[in-house]
């Protein structure tokens, strides 16, 4: 748009379609209206529910302290949208500027925002995945079904995969007094996101709370009884775990299949966009009218040498949505880059875990404050002599300080003394991340190179 009044006309009477009506989609819609977009706004969502918040599903909801159908997101303002909920998008025609829907309808747009997010990776053996008592946890319906089953008091719950979601589920089960086994392919829980040094603390937490934690094993098969209810799992070490509830927590897959053949640079790692959330096409050319935000986007990040960064974080969805919406309504020179430092939280086994930056890129870790043994510490991650990330266990208030170090690429190890430095924090040690070529639940922060086309990466299920 060339300053010829076309942007003004678009802001007044254009058509914006948002595909993906969750956190990023809703926050983008609110920002569009906040910034004066007066045209038509259509919100397309695969799930039949209005936008809801997902973090409570693995915490409050599983603890029985909130109902899964009562986690709708608060509204910052009215968005005056045409809602098309319960109808997934099935295709995109960029030349005709239309989104195809599963019910055969086509929705025309002038500008499009894609925020279709991710879905749980299902158990790979379909017949076993269909057994009664086998769950994944991603959606409100998943949360409702699982909470109902946990309330019935199963004899033993098996959680497959000890990433953040799996660990939170195990924690909630423990708190409800249920017997829990956790099977993790890696050497410890959270190892993909935080490395083995911190993973060992996560393992201690689990065992102290009575979790039967089995690391370095894979679940090879799930067995059902005659009535089709799951009753046991076979493990790669030859053992069997009897369980009447099994939760498959093997990470997430990006919802980009509907874009196949559209010409957009969308693949298993997400939709490549520029730092202002404008999507690339497969030729590496930035589109004029297609934007992406949230878990489905991969954006070049200045802190990480402008490699594409994929994030499955709540805060990233909120901030990218705001940037994308602003840029959709702006002249080129008024657009803003998405530069937030990644951040996430998890609560499990009574401990508040928070992180800033990209720990999973670190090669070394320094326990700068507190002590691993006390499960109360700040770990600082170093990469090529600079601070790249930090994690805090029950020490959240220190993190803004470390975020500042990350933002100004401060040297690692930090050359100054820190409060409460102990003997195990005198020098950095190997952060002990698993070989990235070995598939696991993986980190929720992933660098995915410089190429906007994303055709090489395939995921091999961990069994």
């Amino acid at each position: 748009m060339l300053g010829d009044g076309s942007l003004e006309r678009f802001r007044r009477e254009g058509r914006i379609v948002v595909v993906g009506a969750s956190l990023a989609g809703l926050r983008a819609a609110e920002t569009l209206r906040d910034q004066g977009f007066a045209g038509s706004l259509t919100m397309i969502g695969a799930e039949p529910h209005e936008p809801y918040d997902r973090p409570p599903l693995s915490k409050q909801v599983l603890l029985g302290r909130a109902s899964a159908d009562r986690t709708a997101l608060p509204r910052r303002r009215s968005v005056d949208a045409n809602w098309r909920l319960g109808v997934p998008a099935t295709g995109l025609d960029m030349a005709a500027k239309r989104v195809r829907l599963a019910d055969g309808d086509e929705v025309p747009y002038d500008r499009l925002l894609i925020s279709t997010g991710v879905r749980s990776r299902p158990w790979p053996h379909e017949d076993q995945a269909e057994l009664d008592g086998v769950f994944v946890l991603r959606t409100r319906d998943d949360g409702a079904a699982l909470a109902r089953r946990l309330a019935e008091g199963p004899r033993r719950v098996l959680v497959i995969g000890a990433g953040f979601t799996g660990s939170e589920i195990a924690s909630a089960c423990c708190e409800r007094g249920l017997a829990v086994t956790v099977a993790e392919r890696g050497a410890s829980p959270l190892v993909g996101a935080l490395g083995g040094v911190v993973g060992a603390v996560a393992a201690e937490l689990q065992r102290e709370h009575g979790v039967d934690l089995r690391c370095g094993v894979m679940v090879t098969a799930l067995e059902g009884d005659a009535s089709g209810r799951v009753r046991a799992a076979q493990l790669s070490d030859g053992s069997t775990v009897e369980a009447d509830v099994v939760i498959v927590s093997l990470g997430a897959t990006r919802n980009t299949e509907w874009l196949a053949g559209s010409g957009l640079a969308a693949g298993p790692r997400g939709i490549a966009c520029d730092a202002g959330c404008r999507a690339f096409d497969i030729r590496g050319i930035v589109t004029d009218d297609v934007y992406a935000a949230g878990d489905v986007a991969r954006c070049p990040h200045p802190l990480f040498g402008y490699q594409f960064l994929s994030l499955e974080h709540w805060g990233n969805a909120v901030s990218q949505a705001g940037i994308a919406a602003h840029n959709m309504l702006s002249e080129s020179t008024d657009r803003l880059p998405h530069m937030d430092v990644p951040a996430f939280w998890s609560a499990q086994f009574g401990v508040n875990i928070k992180s800033v930056g990209a720990p999973s890129l670190g090669t070394e870790i320094l326990v700068a404050q507190g002590s691993l043994k006390e499960h109360r510490f700040v770990g600082v991650y170093g990469y090529q002599g600079r601070v790249i990330g930090a994690v805090a266990f029950d020490q959240a208030r220190w993190l803004p300080f470390y975020q500042e170090l990350i933002e100004r690429t401060a040297p690692f190890p930090p050359p100054f003394p820190t409060v409460d430095r102990r003997s195990d924090g005198q020098r950095p040690v190997d952060a002990d991340f698993p070989d990235p070529s070995v598939p696991t639940h993986g980190p929720t922060v992933t660098l995915s190179g410089y190429s906007p086309a994303d055709r090489r990466m395939t995921f091999t299920p961990a069994h």
Binding site: P48, E50, D53, P55, P56, K59, Q60, L63, R65, A66, R70, T71, A72, L73, P74, R75, R76, R77, S78, V79, D80, N82, W83, R84, L85, G86, V87, W314, G315, V318, A343, F344, W345, A347, G350, V351, N352, K354, D394, A396, R397
Partner: protein
Amino acid sequence: MLRIAVDLNRCQGYAQCAFLAPEVFAMHGEESLLYSPEADEEQREKVMQAAAACPVQAILVDTVDAPAEAVSGAR
């Protein structure tokens, strides 16, 4: 009904909300916050006080008229 979300990236566990609206916000462990994503209308005043008192402004509550907006599959 009153819908609530807390940006737990911002939350620093000051626990002001847990004092002002204990039916809705509670500390869980030493510094984790556990909150009800939905509260009854009679809690509104307390929840608004809690949101206002939060030192890091992490609590997001419905704007009064927005939830009434129709959300349907209608074309």
